[in-house]
């Protein structure tokens, strides 16, 4: 079996640079010492391996579940005494118990105030320009905060053995709270407060909106503007609150694309279409406007719009699309829409143009099939 030296998939993506040059090394120097400590503990027999810990914790979890279920059945336990995060509590109320992930491989009890990995006290993260400033702070338990936008400010309000309370004054951050810890993290962001234990999420705040997206774990979001004042978000979920303001900063193209994507994944196609249209009109020269125009046309197709309208949408996308790969997709979808609307001549013309522009396209065979004139039947009169 012949295997190529290069991936045809990567070749066809036509990345501006080879993939290896686009990726940065991933090693986290701040974790190197921590990992070595764990390794030596295991070599010396002082700490259990991650694999054995999984089964042990799984057994404990199973026993706890059986006991808890039995107790609940007999006593009709008060939900407030349940060992889970209560979903409905007044804003500002103290947290209940902590949710421990039974499949976590390490469990480190908190000792004293949480400090940075170098032992210093964390007071503030201020990032003016992520390209020139240090954007990440890592804590001694390996949790981290990374600024993902310019003009980001995070203040420490309280760092104790039980709580980490921070304030996102403005900007955007990715937060990674290591599982297994016993500290509860609270990030205040004006209209909205986020409470987590072991999770990864993104939080952004501007003068017009606050938004949180969960990547991993469970997040509690509190705000008087939410139903019951609190909402529980799981991975893939997103909560956004807009803030009325007389002058507002427009969200960037990237934010609009992300929010459109979130709307589409939530099944709200009209909202996704609206956001994509806003991106295209507000940022006509942005590199993302072509992608947005294409996605808009695809969303219209998913909404079941007639082929005639789809033709116009894919034509508009083709006018804006810059990347080679995107343009080939636009041509292909436009040809299909033209054929669906009964315009085979139009489809043939677009196929000709596509072949002229991309003779080695991954759709070349399909384009050629439409360009090749149909040979007359020799037996017909």
């Amino acid at each position: 079996m012949q295997v190529n030296d290069h991936s045809r998939v990567l070749d066809q993506l036509e990345l501006p640079q080879p993939l290896a040059k686009v990726l940065t090394p991933d090693a986290n120097a701040s974790r190197q010492a921590h990992n070595w400590q764990r390794i030596t503990q295991r070599i010396d027999g002082g700490a259990p391996g991650s694999r054995r810990m999984d089964w042990r914790l799984a057994s404990v979890c199973l026993m706890a579940t059986l006991v808890g279920t039995t107790a609940l059945w007999f006593t009709q336990a008060d939900p407030q005494n349940a060992m889970i995060l209560a979903p409905v509590r007044p804003v500002g109320a103290a947290p209940v118990a902590q949710d421990v992930d039974p499949f976590v491989s390490s469990f480190e009890p908190a000792k004293g105030e949480l400090r940075l990995v170098d032992g210093t006290e964390f007071k503030r993260l201020l990032v003016d320009d992520p390209l020139t400033s240090e954007t990440r702070v890592t804590f001694e338990d390996a949790s981290s905060i990374t600024a993902t936008a310019a003009n980001t400010l995070v203040d420490a309000l309280a760092l104790t053995d039980r709580d980490v309370i921070l304030r996102l004054a403005h900007g955007a951050i990715d937060v990674h709270v290591i599982k297994g810890g016993t500290r509860k993290w609270v990030i205040e962001a004006g209209e909205l407060r986020v409470e987590v234990i072991g999770t990864r999420f993104s939080l952004s705040r501007s003068t017009t909106r606050v938004a949180v997206s969960v990547l991993e774990g469970v997040v509690l979001v509190r705000s008087p503007r939410l139903a019951d004042g609190v909402e529980r978000l799981t991975p893939g979920q997103h909560r956004e609150l807009t803030i009325a303001a007389s002058t507002s900063l427009e969200p960037g193209a990237e934010q609009l694309l992300q929010s459109a994507d979130a709307a589409r994944k939530a099944g709200n196609l009209p909202l996704a279409k609206q956001r994509l249209e806003r991106l295209v009109s507000a940022f006509p020269t942005d590199a993302l406007s072509g992608v947005a125009a294409f996605q808009r046309a695809v969303v219209m197709q998913q909404m079941g719009m007639p082929p005639g309208r789809l033709v116009g949408a894919f034509e508009a996308a083709l006018r804006r699309a810059r990347g080679h790969s995107l343009r080939q997709d636009c041509y292909w979808r436009l040809i299909l829409a033209l054929e669906a609307s009964g315009n085979t001549e139009g489809a043939r013309i677009q196929a000709q143009r596509a072949l002229r522009e991309y003779p080695d396209s991954r759709y070349a065979k399909e384009f050629q099939h439409r360009v090749r004139p149909v040979a007359p039947n020799p037996t017909s009169p």
Binding site: M1, V3, H6, S7, R8, V9, L10, Q12, L13, L15, P16, Q17, L19, A20, V22, L23, T24, P25, D26, A27, N28, Q32, H34, N35, W36, R38, I39, T40, R42, I43, G49, S50, R51, F103, S105, S106, L131, A142, I178, R200, L215, E216, T234, P235, G236, A253, D261, K265, A287, L288, V291, Q295, V298, V299, G323, S325, L326, D329, R333, R362
Partner: protein, 213 residues
């Protein structure tokens, strides 16, 4: 006084202090052979030196293959613990780096298979984390970031062994024999896995869904 006089001579450039030359490639290999020998003998400093020397490479490889970064440290620890435990089985000490990377790939494969089983039992929460997108240089353009993100979505749909083989071959740049060795399969099986992975990825992109997400 002699010390001051010497310092003055050094500062004036009249005397060049002796500096140990950097080891050449040959010296580094010899050094590594010695480190492996000392590590087998249980010397902690030798084990630490090997760990520090290969940490970046192993960590990056695990992160590229595994995705979910909360498990990367666990797998890295498992890898080095296994490496130091089985170090006597390493025939050629100069191949320590490649050998420990192979252990890392094996550990990742075990994790992926276990994750697959736990997800079927409903114990694993949340989707797999992208493997490549988080490593994209922030200075890369938005289109590049989007393309790599979409590549991640496609890669996550591959079977564990195909995913490992494809990333090792076309992202990490490993030779076919090395991929087969790391995946603990025959060369023909590796070729088949790569061909299937390419076919699946091609089909995923051909559906035009990469730009629509």
């Amino acid at each position: 006084m002699n010390l001051i006089y010497t310092a003055v001579l050094v500062a004036s450039g009249a005397v060049v202090p002796f500096v140990r030359p950097l080891p050449s490639g040959g010296d580094a290999l010899h050094d590594e052979t010695e480190l492996v020998r000392d590590a087998i003998a249980g010397q902690r400093s030798a084990q630490h030196a090997l760990y520090v020397r290969h940490y970046d490479r192993v960590h990056t490889r695990i992160a590229r293959l595994l995705g979910r970064s909360s498990e990367v440290d666990d797998v890295l620890q498992d890898t080095f613990v296994a490496a130091f435990r089985d170090l006597e089985t390493l025939g050629d000490a100069t191949r320590f780096g490649s050998w420990v990377c192979g252990i890392a790939v094996h550990q990742v494969h075990r994790r992926l298979r276990r994750r697959h089983l736990l997800s079927r039992l409903g114990f694993v929460r949340g989707p797999d984390e992208p493997t490549l997108h988080h490593a994209v240089d922030p200075k890369a353009g938005p289109e590049t970031q989007l393309l790599v993100k979409q590549l991640d979505e496609a890669i996550l749909l591959l079977a564990p062994r195909q995913r490992l083989a494809w990333i090792l071959r076309y992202v990490e740049g490993c030779q076919l024999e090395e991929v087969a060795e790391h995946c603990k399969t025959s060369l023909s099986t590796t070729k088949r896995d790569l061909a299937h992975a390419e076919a699946h990825l091609n089909a995923w992109f051909d559906n035009g869904s990469k730009h629509a997400g």
